[in-house]
Symmetry: C3
Subunit: 390 residues, 3 copies
């Protein structure tokens, strides 16, 4: 049995038979346990060792928005653990209401171990929907409808994107030689220009919500009017202080990049715009939506200089900060005329961003194990002796 | 080895290497065997015992109509038995004709164990299509095209919905403490109002076609012009008489509910309308279809009082009949302004309807086992010793 | 251990950790090895022996064109080998460019063993796209992004359709009692009329590119203006000469059929038209496309007599040539008023064409094994003792 597995057996997870919806709902030991577990699974896979801990059972995915990367990461994690995948494709426009959610959640769950949901379109909706699903299967389990209560996994909501940010953290831990080495490091979470101006807030919110717990110096930068959900920023401030790090908000990408060890320049939609949009959509106000779009495009165009280029990268520590992106990036002259990052900077870190993404299937597998088993390491024990054969 | 499994080994099934298309094509012992098998699988799953009897092989599903519940039940059953799922999504409008059906049936079946089909849109079409698929794979098997002849499972056609009604029966057996205890009980199969007026006839036809075999008193109620396919009613009459039960047709929901132990109020489209609709669709007569829809809506509107409310429930035995529904129900003030059932009655039985649905994956798994193995219990033997681990 | 397996263990494959894109990129021993492997898997499956050599892992399919037969063959092969299937449905109109292909190829491949691609719409595009995917995962593997480099399988491109032609060859080998017996046989690859005039060139090109290596006499026939990609014809000429066979081009279906042992009459689009079409599509020239379609229909209509009927079949050796088709065929009076083959001729060979298709899942499984394992037979060894139980 490997050392890592033995260490993992001693770790305590607060996730068993719970949902995993927001990283800040789980304690530090659990976060570290998830990372250790993900790393073990990645090492095992690299060495050809397989770990189908489930003999049968379904992983259900509900994608209320298009997705390729997360869809394949979830499919990969499910398959690696021995689960079958069943996808529920909901028509996006069909707004699910109470009874429909309760009923459907139970109808799809009779043999389910986990339900992964992506619902990031409307502020105030996605995370609420996930909680409704969680409550529905909890009721179903308590009432004897379901033999087991499947765990709900947040595959991106309006508030957080935990499978992304945990993969980001795993990548950082590897890059800097351990999670402890992140203490004192500076990370810049900066808005960046994109011609596609309606991207979700979940990544920046999730990044500051997770990295602020590790004693890092977090700098958040965005143009006026592009604020995040206020509670997510307030939480990051509190957490930074508690973890011995710091949190600052600055007004330019340049200011955030100065002496940074890590930069995460990424476009997102203004919070207030997303709020208005959600209301206009609910009211079916087409004229209002058109006007809003016009305003957004005008505001967006004023911030075209928020591009991560070589000049700004040179402001980082020794000009060598680690560039991160959740992909796909809007790359100037590659995917659009002007985007989040210059072609030259992106090309330098292209492979690094692929590696960053490579943690996601294993993070998802770790989350599934951690929400299904009191001691995930013990569930893996039968596969530890397996000598690297696939 | 469990007692149940031993008892099952003695049971004789008439299903081996046959299709399962209509419950009344199978004898009483087989029906009881399917139920016993479904119950065993459900118990095993609840206790954490798994039963992947197939090492590899495909379960193919062909859905010629939208479906969430049946789709997931079939996916769950396939996964539980160790089969992979492949879905064939046919464009609904594309009317399959002879050679296409023959060829496609063989092309998808080279490694298939079972083909589940849902085709309930047009009277006279769905069941016929299933038989064509069955004949095509039979020919393919006899001619050496296929190494094995996959079984065709009816996942709902224009005549019957056997996986639903067998799940209904499993639910009743559990609720009343055994299938024998259903003898002498009264079940009301009643039409109910719904703003969506084109629902298939398969559930009411399937319910009277199955429950009339068990010595129950079956009362069928619907407004004038909402008759079922005459042959299905005639069969129910014959079967009721043969089984020592009775069969009556009444003209109001109230009459059917009086002293009922079980009520199944559910909307369906008038048989004659469905027949006209099928002909108009074949002829591509758009004007005719519009006129027909108008007439239907007018007729339908005249029957808005066919709602299962508390007052009607009070007519049942001690006011405590078991309410059943195949879901999703049209619930007044919840899913529509006026529907099949009042919110208050539905809420009382909501969890019971979820439980009713919960038998379906295990019924489908039982049908797959029963059509693939001469002695399904023996196929399960290797998993009987498994001590509840998943 | 079976004799066949022992013989297979001695065979040398040039496919390990390579892509399989064009049959002529692989040597004769490999082609024979693939056929022997496919045959073994087919025999094992027929006898009930299963061979899930992978415990977990994904087979990814990318279909950039509609497909039922190839989709199910790939799904069947993946399942039989123990792989899970994940399908990437790309919007057809979305033309993938450099960075998108590189990135997506890596994002879907973290746990992938094989990527099957169908992209046959535009000349010069499909095969190039497959090579881009191959290069992308090669880079990902070398850079440590991917733990293993998945193999890319050509499920039909603009140049070749190797899983089809290898299945065709397996069928011929069985029909004539061994691949050696094909030497000296005459095969007619002839264009045939179809009202659907835009079919890919990959099947005729693939057939002459493979059959010309076996000492066969290949006769290619098509109307003026329906030429194949010149390089594919030139290669067939060279290969025929090298293998001791011959290659002729004739101007009528009749001439190609004369004394043929095998006939493969099938519609395809004119090469020059496909080239113009690709350019017009790239330029977004709608008027040009309309004009081109008009011209095509007119040209096509002039060749309505290219139908495989009894009279033409009577010209073949003893009037008994084996008719082949990759299905679905356009059958006169069955699927269209006038098509590639008369109803009477097709009916005579209908079951034979089904059998021909039946090799495809096993050919794909053989290709997966041959690209994943240095010695595919050894990967199968653990299953050889399995006594025919499923």
């Amino acid at each position: 049995m490997t050392e890592t597995l033995r260490a993992l057996q001693e770790m305590r997870f607060d996730t068993c038979h719970r949902d995993f919806l927001l990283t800040w709902e789980h304690d530090d030991e659990t976060i570290r346990g998830i990372l250790a577990l993900a790393r073990l699974l990645k090492d095992w896979h690299r060495s050809g060792r397989r770990f189908p801990v489930f003999r049968t059972g379904l992983a259900i995915s509900i994608f209320r928005d298009n997705s390729t990367r997360t869809r394949f990461s979830f499919a990969s994690a499910a398959n690696a653990l021995g689960l079958g995948l069943s996808e529920l494709d909901e028509v996006k426009s069909q707004i699910a209401h109470g009874e429909t959610v309760r009923e459907t959640a139970n109808m799809i769950s009779f043999l389910a171990e986990v339900i992964g949901i992506r619902d990031d379109m409307y502020l105030g909706e996605g995370n609420r929907y996930m909680r409704q699903v969680g409550e529905a299967v909890q009721e179903g389990f308590e009432q004897g409808v379901l033999h087991q209560r499947p765990s709900v996994l947040n595959l991106q909501c309006d508030i957080d994107h935990p499978t992304q940010t945990l993969a980001d953290l795993a990548h950082l831990a590897d890059h800097f030689g351990g999670i402890e080495n992140l203490r004192g490091k500076k990370i810049a979470m900066s808005w960046a220009y994109s011609p596609s101006y309606g991207k979700p807030l979940s990544v920046p919110q999730g990044v500051i919500g997770l990295m602020s717990r590790l004693g890092m110096h977090v700098a958040l930068a965005h143009p006026e009017g592009y604020g995040l959900i206020p509670e997510t920023v307030e939480r990051a401030v509190r957490q930074s202080s508690a973890s011995g790090g710091s949190f600052v908000q600055v007004e330019t990408m340049e200011d955030s990049f100065r002496d940074a060890d890590i930069v995460y320049p990424k476009s997102w939609a203004p919070y207030l715009v997303m709020q208005s949009r959600t209301e206009l959509l609910k009211a079916g106000d087409r004229e209002g939506l058109k006007t809003l779009e016009k305003e957004c495009l005008a505001t967006n165009a004023r911030n075209r200089h928020w591009e991560c280029d070589r000049k700004k990268m040179n402001l980082t520590r020794d000009g060598k900060a680690l560039y991160m992106h959740c992909l796909p990036a809007d790359i100037t002259d590659v995917s659009c005329p002007l985007g989040e990052v210059s072609a030259e900077v992106f090309e330098q870190y292209r492979i690094a961003t692929y590696r960053q993404a490579g943690y996601k299937p294993f993070v998802i597998a770790a989350l599934i194990l951690a929400t299904r088993f009191g001691n995930p390491a013990e569930a893996l024990l039968p596969f530890a002796g397996d000598g690297g054969s696939r």
